[in-house]
Symmetry: C2
Subunit: 297 residues, 2 copies
């Protein structure tokens, strides 16, 4: 699906390297690019997580930033799968607080609004704010796309829920600020790069990391029998390695059979995780380290 | 978000009970309602998974059908969370083969098409078919919504990817049939009802089930320390209970802390699972059985 991607516009005249993200201008993912690589980074949109990874593999982008987990909604399996299917590794992560703004066109006010459009998850995360008003809710593919649509067809009776960045980008005004129900809404983004690392030197200094505790993302499969996963996870437990989360993901080969994606504390090249991985390889198959990186906190 | 739901139109004149689903007419979830409850069931759309569950809790619907897992894309965490947060239990499940059709308006043909609109996942699942043609891809919130939008604004240059049911519902014609890349694309839907069971007797006979192997969905939490999950899962392993999948889901209370959703073989009221659950309660907290039900195969 690369045909709809805008890479040709992504390399700037001064040859700053491009960082890929999924979505469109004004998306929270674009904000994560700047959160990690700095305000001067060139953030380049692509339509799908696979296209984002493909751009890094082909060298059109030096790195990419993908949402892998939200503190309220949980794992973004599709993004994790795109990373695991690619030849890329996770080299870092960044946490972005999600602050939803109610945006309208010039002349709109809280009194003129009759409908609110946004991504389903954003609507759900502002449920208490919206419930008091009885507006009609319109579901859109994403928050930035909703903002773009409103800017293209101005309507005082319509508001959108999106980021402050989307407001700036599409010239919309903020009708109500920080309208999310829970104030602990954060998204964790993985920063991925090519395994040879060559691409990253071109991206300039990576913001965080020095001295931060390391985290590692691991993929493996077990046989389909009682106790197989328990036996495999024993490799971590016996070495005292803390697991932060685990997901079953389709193998993609046999229907209703799974591989596991596990996030653990520690670095794959350092004990005790190094030894635990040696033991895991004896107990499971298809073991792959998808990256060891400084954990964002 | 109940305000946008259409329950008032859902109870038919002959008082057949309503079955709730998320989405709109022509959605794969609507097809799953009929797959489980029969062609005569009254399928009622609601905008969110929470609204779907709320309709069953309030008695406006006697049961609901929610997608919990796709064979290619994996778990639908948002739907599982809505079930876990509700007071409902899973009483059955149904598998639906997902067959994507390329739909156009009257007069459209493969030659007139320039753009294709659908849900992001549907576009991704037809990637090989689409790659040969170089059409512009437009992402929509869902497949049935894309079909409705095309029917409302007929355009021979636009096609959508949706179900045969959507074609029938919106009067679109099939330009290309079964265009998905993989032929093992299936979605697993959970059938949920109130715990008192009263609601289900009103729904008439439940289609499958007699003699089918039982499956059970369980939620629990562990302390955040090395080996805690391994120790908890030992309750199943030691009893010889097979686990089919496991997911970390946000607790919703403390950021980046998780509860676990586990699917196992067997019935919670029958050994060996019954004993394994007793042991699990000693090793973990917040243990809840979300339902034991006939597994769909």
């Amino acid at each position: 699906m690369r045909s709809t991607c805008c890479w040709s516009g992504c390399v700037t005249a001064d040859r700053r390297p491009a960082i890929a993200y999924q979505g469109e201008a004004g998306a929270y993912s674009e904000e994560a690019v700047h959160g990690y690589f700095g305000a001067g980074a060139v953030a380049c949109p692509a339509p799908t997580f696979s296209a984002v990874c493909a751009a890094v593999e082909s060298g059109e982008a030096v790195a990419a930033v993908l949402p892998v987990e939200n503190s309220l909604a949980g794992t973004v399996g599709e993004a994790l799968d795109a990373i695991a299917r690619s030849g890329l590794i996770v080299v870092g992560e960044v946490l972005l607080p999600i602050r939803h703004q109610l945006l309208g066109v010039a002349g709109a006010s809280m009194d003129s609004v009759r409908s609110v459009m946004s991504h389903r998850q954003a609507l759900a995360q502002c449920e208490a704010f919206l419930a008091r008003r009885g507006w009609r809710l319109v579901v859109a593919e994403d928050t930035a796309g909703a903002a773009r649509a409103l800017a293209q067809r101005p309507d005082r009776a319509m508001a959108v829920i999106a980021s402050s960045r989307a407001a700036d980008h599409y010239g919309l005004r903020v009708l109500a600020r920080d309208i999310e129900d829970a104030d602990d809404n954060q998204t964790r983004f993985a920063v991925v790069a090519r395994r040879d690392g060559a691409s990253l030197s071109a991206a300039g200094p990576l913001a965080p990391g020095s001295g931060a505790p390391r985290a590692t993302l691991i993929e493996f499969e077990t046989r389909h029998m009682a106790g197989a996963l328990h036996h495999a996870l024993g490799a971590f437990a016996e070495a005292g390695v803390s697991m932060t989360r685990i997901e079953s993901r389709p193998t993609g080969r046999v229907r209703w059979q799974y591989r596991f994606l596990v996030a653990v504390e520690g670095d794959a090249a350092v004990e005790p995780l190094r030894g635990a991985l040696r033991e895991l390889r004896a107990r499971a198959h298809g073991v792959r380290v998808l990256g060891s990186f400084p954990a964002a906190t």
